[in-house]
Amino acid sequence: METILEILAEVKPGLDLSSETELVDSGILDSMAIIQLVARLSDEFDVEITPVDLVPENFNSVQAIEAMIRRLED
């Protein structure tokens, strides 16, 4: 959770995104941010985020991102 927040802060500095639930739908994370985020998450957690995982629902909140990473780590 902490690591994800840190990575989010690298991609979108200066915003408190910990309780945000519409990161994608509200436009906070644009396409460029998503691509950067995916690259950083894959490196950090050593998981492969495949195109199938690339859906807005997996990126709308920190919790959603964490759930996706957990699933991919298994």
């Binding site: 644009d30 396409s31 460029m32 691509i35 950067q36 690259a39 195109p51 859906v55």
Partner: protein
Amino acid sequence: MKTLTDHFDRIAALYPDKKAVSDEQETLTYGELAQQAKGIGTALARTGAKRRAVSLFLHKTPRCVAAMLGTSYSGNFYVVTDPDMPPERIRMTYETLDPAAVITEPALLETLRQTGFSGQVFLIDEVRCEAPDPALLQEVASQALSTDPLYCLFTSGSTGVPKGTVVTHANVIAYTDWFIHAFHIDSTCIFGSQTPFYFSMSVTDLFGALRTGAELVILPKKFFAFPIRLLQFMEQRQVNIIYWVPSALSIIANADLFRYVRPQTLKTVLFAGEVMPVKQLNYWRSFYPDALFANLFGPTETTDICTYYVVDRPFQETEALPIGRACEGCQVMVIGPDGKECAPGEEGELYVRGPFVAPGYYHAPDKTAAAFVQNPLQQAYPEIVYKTGDIVRTNDRGELIYCGRVDHQIKHFGYRIELGEIEAAAMAVDQVFAAACLFDAAGDRILLLYEGKVPEEDVQTALKDRLPGYMLPAMVKKLAAMPHNQNGKIDRSRLKAEYIG
């Protein structure tokens, strides 16, 4: 039939109930689009402005298309202004344009205020419901000329001050005549539109569609980050023709997305705006062996395109895709430093002549005079041609090959080097997805930045096998993600700011 809207009227009368423009939320039929555009045209014509700029401060939506046509009905020309652009840059364009009016929506009023604009503001959802005044519109139409401007489109100048290219009705009509014939555009076409309305490429699919009764489906920008959704959306909307920047096509290829979804209806794949890497093109061709693929080439100043190449043979990853030959209805010349036509195979600057060539830049006589010049091959009568700043040569087949920009050519160890050649060599390395080459003139160093699944040492080694020593980058750096600009192209200015400063 003098103006683009004259052509649109004919099509709208033929296909009143057919879908014209749609996005995720909204669809306008030709009948609805014509009605709304005439309402907007009526409101704008009542201001009394003629041949003035109207800024469309709107996101890419069907109603923005109604505003484009509406501005034309009013006898003025439109400028699509990106609401996500920094207010300071918008202020600079407004200073140049002095717009007669701005059309926007309530949610954007605060941003508009920050640009310092103090003139007349119309709200799109009010003006598009305005009742058209046929007598007023008829009066305006009777005064209109084919040589009047239809729009002004800003491109970033190398000095940082944006230049606004003025494009006329006659330009767009001549240009789309070629496009429609070259790619058999008709009312059965469904375009999947990727490029923003403030980028010249969008002129091609938008007016190609509106002149033939085809449908333009606006692909939501956010789907390019969720490309499976993008392909599903295209499949659901039965998109059969696309005209995208190569970076957008590469997103699909790099993630091997056709394993998951392959839109069945797609028949025509066109691209322009950047060099199309052969590796990614080959991926697309393997999934669409029967589709037509074409490489289009040209600047905003020739409406959008001046040469094209229909892919008609296999290409190796190390080969360059030709930019082909001049579009029918326009001519190109390859001119050497002596002002004379180059011999076949010799490199020279590309010049364009004919009806696609725009009149020039708005409120910028010096910039206009520098790029729109007398035909160097004849002095007998006045003939203004456009000097593109692109270096090209012909190959053995007589097809034009793009060699790079006049201003991207560098001198390094006394050699003249085209940075694009280094990029092409990097792109040919397996698992390299995107590459951009920069030259640090102060330090006399070539830098290569890339995105991919291969370590820096391997790219360096691979380049040594492909390039002469003097072309090898001093630094090769792997990026987590290549930055892209609003048009979807690789953002070179951002890379320069970050890595050269």
